[in-house]
């Protein structure tokens, strides 16, 4: 009897084991994708967090001689700090401790603080990118001298400055207030950020009203038939067209045919608007579909025209849903890179763009450009720019979620 039970249970046990295996495969699959996400985000975070601080060097500058150029003042300050350095080669190395922009920093501090003129003052200057990386521990000092970017001599100077308290780390405001630069320690994201904001504004101003009107037509006015089916298929296809194809469209039509300014947020916004339009139309339609027919019937029954019914009664109820869809679409447009490369928004932009016809770049394109730079310090900048980009995306999506929760209405 017992023998029989065991033999009957054997296949059953096997089947149950396979059930458990199957379940675990599902868990492992999910863990694998989420694990990748976590590894990616954490590695970018650890790489980029350093860019939010900046190393500064204190120098005693002699501002007594009113005629001396700021460049010379900084030079002299360095030479007096290290009087033992006399050879030309070493002096040249010494001059590379502060950033190449040190003389302009001096001008700025003088303009802010005119009383300093005529005195000997201790001022802080941004350190060069190599020193900055050294202080942040990104350079392996155990390696032999010729395998790292910092010489033993420079290392000794930095240690000396550190011992005297002449090196400090401060929050890197310049990262948010300046444009791109060839010098990693001076490069900031403001120009790229402004480019993104301008392009997104153009994109929103065009795609939101157009998308809503198209959604209203398809949902409220169009007679169901071949024509509306054709438009619908078109919209769905447009949503799945590779983004780079939109870039080709922008290049050949907006730039080539209409002669719009290259690299401008105007063209960028136009291209992004075309890409975002399907998202907004699809979201708009589902928001309109969520408004119950009784609302329409009540308005029509009171003698309102179809346009009045739509604009006065249906649209206000559907608007939060439409706005949510639009924000999600904008977030996607913010992360878009490839089409902007096609229309020349891939330029070295130092000045902050202020008009939609200025040459500009965008945040993701800036990331792409920095990712190509060989300096170690740009690696940090790239990751930091990614952190800013992802923070913006998260914020936009949060707004969309909050909006949806707040105005969600069950009829």
């Amino acid at each position: 009897m017992t023998e029989f039970l065991i033999s009957a249970n054997k296949p059953l046990r096997r089947r149950h084991a396979s059930e458990t295996r199957f379940k675990w495969m599902g868990r492992i699959a999910i863990a694998a994708s989420l694990g990748f996400l976590v590894v990616m985000l954490v590695s970018i975070l650890t790489l980029g967090i350093g860019a939010f601080s900046r190393t500064e060097i204190a120098l005693a500058v002699d501002l007594g001689d009113g005629d001396a150029s700021s460049k010379k003042i900084v030079r002299n300050a360095l030479f007096t700090s290290f009087p033992e350095v006399t050879s030309r080669a070493e002096r040249r190395q010494l001059l590379r401790l502060p950033s190449a922009d040190a003389s302009r920093e001096l001008d700025r501090q003088l303009a802010e603080n005119p009383d300093l003129a005529g005195q000997v003052a201790t001022l802080w200057f941004t350190a060069s990118d190599d020193i900055d990386q050294l202080i942040k521990g990104a350079i392996d000092t155990d390696k032999p001298q010729d395998q790292r970017r910092i010489s033993d001599q420079e290392l000794a100077w930095v240690t000396q400055l550190q011992d005297l308290g002449q090196i400090r780390k401060v929050f890197n405001t310049g990262f948010f207030t300046s444009g791109d630069s060839r010098e990693p320690e001076l490069a900031g994201i403001l120009s790229a950020l402004m480019g993104s904001i301008l392009s997104l504004t153009v994109c929103f101003v065009l795609s939101f009203p157009l998308g809503i009107m198209a959604a209203i037509y398809l949902e409220e006015f169009a007679k169901k038939g071949r024509w509306s089916d054709f438009i619908e298929v078109n919209i769905n296809n447009l949503a799945a067209v590779p983004s780079i194809v939109f870039g080709l469209l922008g290049l050949s039509i907006f730039l080539g045919y209409f002669g719009m300014p290259r690299s401008s947020p105007l063209v960028g916004g136009l291209v992004l608007a075309l890409m975002t339009l399907p998202t907004i139309i699809i979201a708009g339609r589902s928001a309109l579909r969520g408004v119950p027919p009784s609302i329409r019937e009540a308005a029509l029954g009171m003698g309102a025209t179809q346009v009045q019914t739509t604009l006065h009664h249906v649209l206000p109820l559907a608007l939060p849903g439409m706005l949510t869809g639009a924000i999600v679409g904008m977030a996607r447009a913010l992360g878009e890179t490839a089409p902007l490369l096609m229309i020349g928004m891939v330029a070295f932009i130092v000045d902050i763009p202020t008009k939609i016809t200025d040459a500009a770049t965008s945040l993701p394109v800036q990331i792409f450009l920095w990712a190509d730079s060989p300096e170690r310090a740009f690696l940090e900048k790239t990751s930091a720019a990614i952190i800013v980009l992802i923070t913006l995306l998260v914020a936009m999506n949060l707004v969309a979620i909050i909006l949806r929760k707040k105005f969600e209405r069950r009829f």
Partner: protein, 314 residues
């Protein structure tokens, strides 16, 4: 007796007529955009085929689009055979699908059939995050972390891995399209009527057996539609391959070697200053049209399958 005329027609409302026209015109923009895409690429492509023959473009095995500085230079015409680009694109997309198809499908099965509502509500949005991350971030990660890692691991195993290998780009692209596959598969699995599930369970099948033998086969059309859409997204993906796959037009099926793709070549041909008339720049539009037609074809088939199948169970 005078007869008063009663009209039941409302008064004319020109503003409303104008608004209706505006609504209609807005919806036509979607069509205009499609037409614009086709026309913009068609004209340049036709001009490209004045320089290079269609058969050379589609069947040529060599891609080296540099054009001559002097007209009498040797090999001044450049070579415009797109086959290495097509195989490169297919290789990377295939790697991406090999990664994404099982992971995406199995995740979807777990979420649709096993996970509690609470777990589902947490995991699903987290998977969607993968789809929301900009592709330039994936490209950066592929080039900075994944490619060196593969090169190092390959080196330890005695394999020669190119620093811009197809594998690195494909793997990362695979992760990017996981949510696409999982969410469409999830929809397909949820659309399978409960009667099928209950019948199979009632006959004594385990849950896993029910899923493998009944539910997945019933959802196959929807799932395959999702796979097609994901493949189309992989073919059209640009930033990951630009940053991680490089520009070497090798005709190879070895995932450890460097290959280039259609999209990466378009970017390489059109970034920076360019003259509008050279075969080099025009070839980018021919590649763009090829890409557009391929993805359009895949998308249309995928959406047909998904829609038809949805109706069947409704």
């Amino acid at each position: 007796m005078t007869q008063t005329e009663i009209s039941f027609k409302g008064r004319k409302r020109p503003l409303e007529t104008a608004l209706k026209a505006a609504f209609f015109l807005s919806s036509v923009i979607a069509i205009a955009a499609t037409v614009g895409i086709v026309l913009s690429m068609l004209f340049e492509t036709i001009r490209f085929f004045e320089h290079v023959s269609l058969s050379e473009f589609l069947f040529g095995l060599k891609w080296s689009p540099q054009t001559a500085i002097r007209a009498d230079q040797v090999g001044s015409s450049g070579a415009f055979g797109a086959v290495p680009l097509i195989t490169g694109t297919l290789l990377i997309s295939a790697i991406a699908m090999v990664v994404a198809a099982p992971i995406g499908l199995i995740s979807a099965i777990y979420l649709a059939e096993y996970a509690s509502n609470r777990v589902r509500g947490i995991i699903k949005p987290m998977l969607e995050i993968l789809a929301g991350i900009p592709t330039v971030v994936y490209g950066f990660f592929a080039a900075l972390v994944v490619a060196p890692f593969l090169r190092m691991t390959g080196g330890q195993l005695g394999l020669e891995v190119a620093s811009e290998s197809a594998l690195a780009a494909g793997l990362v692209m695979g992760v990017m399209i996981i949510p696409l596959i999982s969410s469409l598969s999830d929809d397909a699995l949820n659309a399978v009527p409960n009667a099928l599930r209950e019948a199979s369970l009632g006959l004594g099948a385990t849950k896993a057996e029910t899923i493998k033998k009944v539910i997945v086969p019933a959802a196959i059309p929807g799932i395959s539609g999702g796979f097609l859409l994901a493949a189309s997204a992989a073919i059209g993906e640009t930033m990951i391959v630009v940053m991680a796959a490089g520009l070497a037009a090798n005709l190879t099926a070895n995932p450890l070697e460097a290959v280039t793709t259609i999209t990466a070549q378009i970017v390489a041909l059109l970034t920076g200053d360019q003259e509008f008339d050279s075969a080099k720049t025009l070839s980018a539009f021919a590649l763009g049209l090829l890409l557009f037609i391929t993805t359009l074809f895949l998308n249309v088939i995928a959406m047909r399958i998904v829609n038809k199948y949805r109706e069947q169970y409704d």
